[in-house]
């Protein structure tokens, strides 16, 4: 038997195997589709908004939607999400208004939400430093006797960071109910996975933390859902954290300021685009007879309308008062905070 390429090793799949996931009825399947379309629409519109000068630099997550939607659908409403900037719009799936996330990318002080309200932490810009936040939250909920689970998202590059190690190790030691979700898209801006690690797979790292490491096809929303659901059940049942490596490929620039033609394998990008995650799922649902043209159009229009309304609302927001620079850093601000302010 031929040696299995590391790329393919233990990769869990649903769509390519034409399987069905236990417990998911037509309504659930459509709800997942709706989330995929909402994220895809957010992303594609944002790139347009950026080109139109309506938002600032934007981190594109095209073809990452399956990893985000599949995993969020496996959570309960009270479970916490700790996003990186690649998951900037994941809160839309929890009811955060599109305008709020657009404000964030517009550099407007209205771009905040209360993490406790949506159980979605603020967007983490530095790499992997939020892993220990998620571990602490999950551990803290466990200490209170709650069954809340947390999930944190990060990329392949993040696994090189000390912060990833410290957070993962602490989650293991405390048996925190945490899912460490690694979106392995093979690129950290221009640095390829092989320059990031000599490990055969990123999931192998889980062994060192005493937790299960699972590999899943990151372009297969149902495989992501299934793997996350199993990890959530284990965490909620007291079985501690799980590391999920979702294998995908970055088919878009890192961000609007990036031109990947200098470094990326363009043939591979074209291949990934042909096999992108929304189309794969759509074809699967059509084969199952769950989705028809009319429903597709309705769901896509609904998402477009959310974005139209979101950008309109964001642009209708008045210019921020410069006095806001002093707001919110402290509950009890030091008396000399405004020293030198000429306002």
């Amino acid at each position: 038997m031929a040696k299995v390429a590391p790329e393919e090793r233990d990769l869990q799949r649903v769509i390519d195997e034409e399987r069905e996931v236990d417990g998911l009825g037509p309504d659930d399947l459509l709800a997942i589709y709706r989330s995929l379309i909402l994220l895809r629409t957010y992303d594609e519109r944002s790139v347009v908004y950026h080109r139109q000068g309506r938002i600032g630099t934007y981190a594109i997550f095209w073809n990452h939607e399956a990893m985000q939607a599949g995993s969020v659908h496996a959570l309960a409403d009270e479970d916490w999400i700790f996003p990186s900037y690649r998951e900037s719009a994941i809160g839309l799936l929890r009811g955060i208004p599109a305008s709020t996330v657009l404000h964030w990318w517009r550099g407007h002080p209205a771009g905040w939400w209360n993490p406790a309200e949506y159980r979605v932490a603020s967007i983490c810009v530095p790499i992997a430093t939020h892993v220990s936040h998620a571990a602490g939250l999950a551990w803290g909920e466990k200490l209170k006797g709650n069954s809340t689970v947390a999930i944190t998202y990060f990329g392949d590059g993040a696994t090189s960071e000390g912060s990833f190690h410290e957070g993962a190790n602490l989650a293991g030691v405390m048996q925190a109910p945490l899912i460490l979700f690694c979106n392995n898209n093979h690129w950290a801006i221009s640095t390829p996975l092989e320059a990031q690690t000599h490990a055969e797979t990123l999931a192998d790292k889980a062994v060192g933390y005493g937790m299960p490491g699972v590999r899943v096809d990151g372009g297969d929303v149902l495989a992501v859902y299934e793997a996350t659901r199993e990890a959530v059940e284990r965490a909620r049942g007291g079985g501690g954290p799980t590391f999920i490596e979702a294998v995908s490929y970055r088919a878009a620039p890192h961000a609007t300021a990036d031109d990947p033609r200098a470094y990326i394998d363009l043939d591979r990008v074209e291949e990934e685009k042909r096999n992108e995650c929304v189309g794969r799922y759509e074809a699967y649902l059509r084969r199952l007879g769950v989705l028809d043209d009319a429903t597709v159009e309705e769901i896509k229009n609904e998402a477009l309308e959310i974005m139209r309304a979101g950008i309109a609302q964001a642009e209708a927001e008045p210019e921020p008062d410069p006095e806001l620079v002093f707001d919110n850093a402290y509950v009890l601000p030091p008396p000399n905070l405004r020293e030198g302010w000429d306002g």
Binding site: T129, S132, L170, L332
Partner: protein
């Protein structure tokens, strides 16, 4: 009122605050089973259980990072960094998250965590057990910094830090952890952040200090007896800073010497000197002088006494100013 060493007062504060509020917890390296390498957390694990006095993995950034998450779950973590210089990895979390997270949430979430650590030199220890890192902390927006110099203040400032809704770093002068036993109020005792203490009243020159440099300044004041009456201002908290007390003292004496054991450049003494230059220059009879450590790695302990600001160096600076 019982007499206690400074480190015993820290321990007392932790006992009182953990008993007062069920959501206060202590975490750090060797704080539980061992009770801390300086015994600051002794007895907490036995009294409050292993979930409220937690031996963490050896990971300073992970300790502070998980404390951020614990705050989001409603806890009020008191994180011990085992030594001053061991805290440097936690600066990553402090700068990128601890000082920013409330701001990031539009003021909707609070992060009432405390980082406490023994700091400073003079204890005949190996490299990186001697640093005075206060400038890194006070330069971080969103974070408050307190430094006690007496047992009573060690208890009261730590209690204030734990009760403060903002993140607070408390630097404890390890040189005087077991210096002089002093009276410490029993039970709940809070010293508000942002109120300096007049350690000694005088009229001719003000020595501005905090932490382990306060007793050095008091000895310098003794040495100058007969030549000048010396005021010693113990800042107690660097942010919020009691500017009123600083300006009042400087304008009264017209002379100020700032003493810090941290390296000289961009140290907190420079901030004090700048404030006095901006707001008190017409009251001053001479320049603000600094007595500080030097811009070198903290030295081998055989020669550390020449690095640390000494009574002689402080007296010398005061005389220079008196004769200016």
């Amino acid at each position: 009122m019982a007499e206690k060493f400074l480190v015993e007062a820290v321990n007392d504060a932790l006992h009182v605050e953990l008993a007062r509020d069920d959501m206060v917890m202590v975490m750090g390296e060797d704080v539980g089973r061992a009770g801390g390498v300086f015994r600051a957390t002794a007895g907490l694990r036995e009294r409050f259980g292993e979930n409220r006095c937690v031996d963490t993995p050896l990971a300073e950034a992970g300790i502070l990072g998980s404390a951020v998450g614990l705050c989001m779950a409603g806890w009020k973590p008191v994180c011990e960094m085992q030594y001053d210089a061991f805290s440097y990895p936690c600066l990553d979390q402090l700068i990128t998250h601890v000082g920013r997270y409330r701001w990031r949430t539009g003021g909707q979430m609070e992060f009432p965590l405390v980082v406490r650590m023994p700091y400073g030199g003079g204890v005949r220890a190996p490299e990186l057990h001697d640093d005075s890192p206060e400038a890194y902390y006070v330069h971080t927006p969103g974070v408050k910094v307190a430094i006690p110099s007496t047992p009573a203040d060690a208890k009261g400032l730590l209690a204030a830090a734990i009760r403060d809704p903002d993140p607070v770093v408390v630097l404890e002068p390890k040189l005087i952890y077991r210096g002089e036993k002093q009276e410490v109020p029993e039970g709940e005792h809070v010293v508000p952040l942002g109120e300096a203490r007049l350690a000694r009243e005088g009229t001719d020159v003000t020595l501005v200090a905090y932490g382990a440099m306060v007793p050095v300044c008091e000895r310098a004041a003794d040495a100058l007896e007969g030549e000048a009456t010396v005021e010693v201002l113990d800042l107690r908290s660097l942010r919020p800073l009691d500017e009123d007390a600083l300006l009042a003292s400087a304008s009264k004496t017209g002379r100020a010497v700032v003493v810090q054991e941290a390296p000289r450049t961009a140290g907190f003494g420079a901030e004090i000197a700048a404030i006095l230059a901006e707001k008190a220059i017409l009251d001053l009879h001479g320049p603000v002088l600094r007595v500080t450590g030097f811009d070198v790695p903290y030295p081998y302990w055989k020669i550390e006494d020449r690095y640390m600001p000494s009574v002689e160096r402080v007296v010398g600076a005061a005389r220079k100013l008196l004769e200016f």
